[in-house]
């Protein structure tokens, strides 16, 4: 069953066509990778799905319901969470609080309840703290919980982005280059984490990644973008041997020379 369906999605920035008539079906519970050379339009695609950019034309359906035109926070409420390629943590607050921000829509303490410090609000906060801590344990960051987020090592910051996204209780999780800047050990931990999340948290995962080992290892379905167009899609094996893909990555003629 397709949880996310994209039809004819196009985004233009002035004369530049960053995404051109993209069609895509993402199966519920799958791990789908979106790959392509630099500037192919992968992040732009994520930005449209999450409401950061409005598409020039086309449709995005989550469970057969259009989410085009929704604001980013509304998309989050619908159950799509994401991480960012250029890390966007809340640097000056603690790691635990970063995760708690992710719970924003699941907490109900209003202005007056908070000012009056009602027992209900106190209880909710306490539970939120524990829940946040559990999420940190899940991604392996619990030892950092009181640190300022900006003081974390790079790899840990990427994981914190994931923990924070999980806190929104998403159905679909979009990861934009989660392994960028990680060393091989961190990358293999991350691979395991992504795999486990899908298994244990009832998630559908779409990830953008340049690390082909990671992509081939965990994705069931791969979509390849180049210059804003979808040039191929299929299983890892299909993509590995696709001439167009090899061409896009290595330049024209590479496919023939290689074979």
């Amino acid at each position: 069953m397709s949880i996310l369906t994209v039809k004819n999605l196009t985004k233009q920035f002035g004369g530049l066509v960053a995404n051109s008539n993209i069609d895509m079906e993402v199966q519920k519970g799958s791990i789908t990778a979106v790959i392509g050379p630099n500037g192919a339009g992968k992040t732009t695609f994520f930005n449209m799905v999450t409401g950061v950019y409005q598409p020039t034309s086309g449709e995005i359906l989550l469970n057969n319901e259009s989410i085009v035109g929704l604001k980013p926070h509304q998309v989050t409420k619908k159950g799509i969470a994401r991480t960012f390629q250029n890390i966007r943590l809340f640097g000056a607050i603690t790691v635990l609080e970063n995760v708690m921000v992710g719970m924003h829509n699941h907490l109900h303490g209003g202005l007056f309840g908070t000012i009056l410090n009602l027992p209900r609000v106190r209880k909710e906060e306490k539970e939120a703290r524990r829940e946040a801590y559990r999420l940190l344990e899940y991604v392996g960051l619990e030892s950092f919980f009181n640190e300022e987020a900006r003081n974390l090592p790079y790899g840990a910051q990427r994981k914190l982005e994931i923990a924070r996204a999980l806190a929104t209780k998403p159905k679909v999780l979009l990861l934009d280059e989660p392994a960028a800047g990680m060393n091989p050990k961190e990358t293999s931990e991350l691979t395991k984490l992504i795999y486990n999340m899908r298994e244990e948290l009832d998630l559908t995962i779409i990830l953008i990644e340049h690390d082909m080992k990671l992509v081939m290892e965990i994705s069931e379905h791969i979509v390849v973008l180049d210059h804003g167009e979808k040039i191929a899609e299929g299983t890892p094996d299909e993509i590995r041997n696709n001439e167009k893909v090899i061409e896009a990555y290595l330049g024209k003629g590479a496919a023939t020379t290689a074979s």
Partner: protein, 430 residues
């Protein structure tokens, strides 16, 4: 030096001794030497000393409360300077509340607001208009001025009106960001002042540049509040409420949303935070503190006119926030106190002293260089120095430190309830 500080930090009894001794000494110096501004300031600074102790919050509040409610007024009450001391303390309180309000907008939500005094003006005029005969000019019903008993209700009305305007103005203003926001809010602050200055025709609502005179003093159980020593207590009560409110908001869902928006708008939205709503809430809550204090200010001065609400006032409040530490509640309290005292006490005292000297012919200081007129110059210097060397302010904002034990699952804790459950499990298993 470090070692020595460390020993003190370890030893609560020693701290109690130091704080106690300090309070007693400064209390008696003020009590006996009534004219000593220094003694007054030193007694006030006992609160700062208290802040640095490691006592529990409750103990800090108790001691601080004792100083503010009993000791300070009592020590100051022994001479003629009583009312002027209380006037300073009252104004310090008013400015602290305003600075705490602006701190929510600028420090926590990261929205630079250069027209913040407008909300103070709204509060002041709200009470001023209805507590003088002014309202007779345009109100179709009722008899004005309202009695001083209405003051207590007006504190809430002022709070509400300012919050409402915070939202109304926020809606268009928040479309712009960063530098533009600063310019737009600056414009808004000036517009409000100019409106108050000109709203004497066609219908005379604000009495224009003439201002509103003889505002009704607050009245409670038949007692009129006329003196700073009385307003001091009104301000103190509101201020304590304000401090509790900001403290609770700061570490709540709402405060985290403010900080998230400040740190990264796009990520904040991706966490499900409604950007406009969150910013408007910061505007409204910040404005409401100013609105309340505006009402008190109008009643205390018994006179309201547009000259009290100039751009310089907005800048002054901003300096308090930056000096103390953006986003830091204790810092902003300190910043507001320092700047107010600098304005009211230090600069005026210096001016008096220099005047004295010129009268005696020791030196001659041209009028243009008198310290009281150097306020802007001094603020300018403070802003530059802090921006360069201590951008985080005097007492930088601190993040909450959580207790790991509390965060972990209770299963591991020795807790009667949990143990009972555990034994039940054993039963089931066997």
């Amino acid at each position: 030096m470090k070692n020595w500080l460390h020993t003190i930090q370890q030893n609560k009894r020693l701290q109690a001794l130091i704080v106690g001794l300090y309070i007693v000494v400064t209390f008696f110096s003020l009590y006996l030497a009534q004219k000593s501004v220094v003694a007054f300031l030193l007694l006030l600074s006992s609160l700062l000393l208290l802040y640095f102790t490691t006592f529990s919050n409750r103990v800090k509040w108790l001691i601080g409360g004792l100083v503010m409610v009993v000791l300070l007024p009592l020590a100051a009450s022994q001479g003629e300077a009583y009312q002027s001391y209380m006037e300073v303390a009252t104004l310090v309180g008013i400015y602290i509340a305003m600075a705490l309000g602006l701190n929510i907008v600028v420090g926590m939500a990261g929205l630079l607001d250069l027209g913040f005094v407008a909300f103070f003006a709204l509060g002041a005029y709200t009470y001023g208009i209805f507590a003088t005969g002014q309202a007779n000019n345009f109100m179709p019903f009722g008899h004005y001025p309202l009695s001083g008993e209405s003051f207590w209700v007006f504190i809430f009305i002022g709070c509400f009106v300012a919050a409402l305007f915070g939202i109304l103005l926020g809606v268009p203003v928040l479309r712009v960001k960063g530098d533009y926001l600063a310019i737009v809010t600056l414009g808004f602050g000036e517009i409000i002042r100019i409106i108050f200055n000109n709203l004497d025709k066609p219908v005379n609502i604000t009495n224009g540049a003439m201002g509103l005179a003889s505002v009704q003093p607050p009245r409670l159980f038949g007692i009129d509040f006329m003196y700073p020593s009385q307003f001091y207590y009104i301000v103190l009560v509101i201020l304590i409420a304000v401090i509790f409110a900001v403290r609770r908001l700061e570490f709540s869902k709402i405060g985290r949303a403010w900080k998230a928006v400040r740190e990264n708008e796009i990520a904040a939205q991706a966490m499900g935070i409604h950007l406009v709503k969150t910013k408007l809430m910061a505007f409204a809550v910040g404005a409401s503190f100013s609105g309340m204090m505006g009402v008190v200010f109008a009643a205390k001065q018994t006179f309201v006119d547009p000259t009290s609400f100039t751009l310089l006032e907005s800048i002054t409040i901003l300096v308090m926030v930056i000096l103390g530490g953006m986003g830091s509640v204790p810092g902003v309290i300190l910043g507001a106190a320092l700047v107010t005292i600098l304005n009211l006490q230090v600069l005026t005292e210096l001016t008096n002293w220099l005047n004295q000297l010129s009268l005696n012919g020791v030196i001659s200081v041209p009028d243009a260089l008198s310290p009281a007129k150097m306020q802007r110059f001094i603020f300018g210097i403070i802003l530059i120095l802090f921006a360069l060397y201590r951008p985080q302010g005097l007492l930088p904002a601190k993040n909450p430190v959580f207790n790991e034990k509390e965060l972990k699952d209770t299963d591991k804790l020795v807790n009667a309830g949990v143990q009972k459950e555990a034994t039940q499990h054993v039963h089931l298993d066997s």
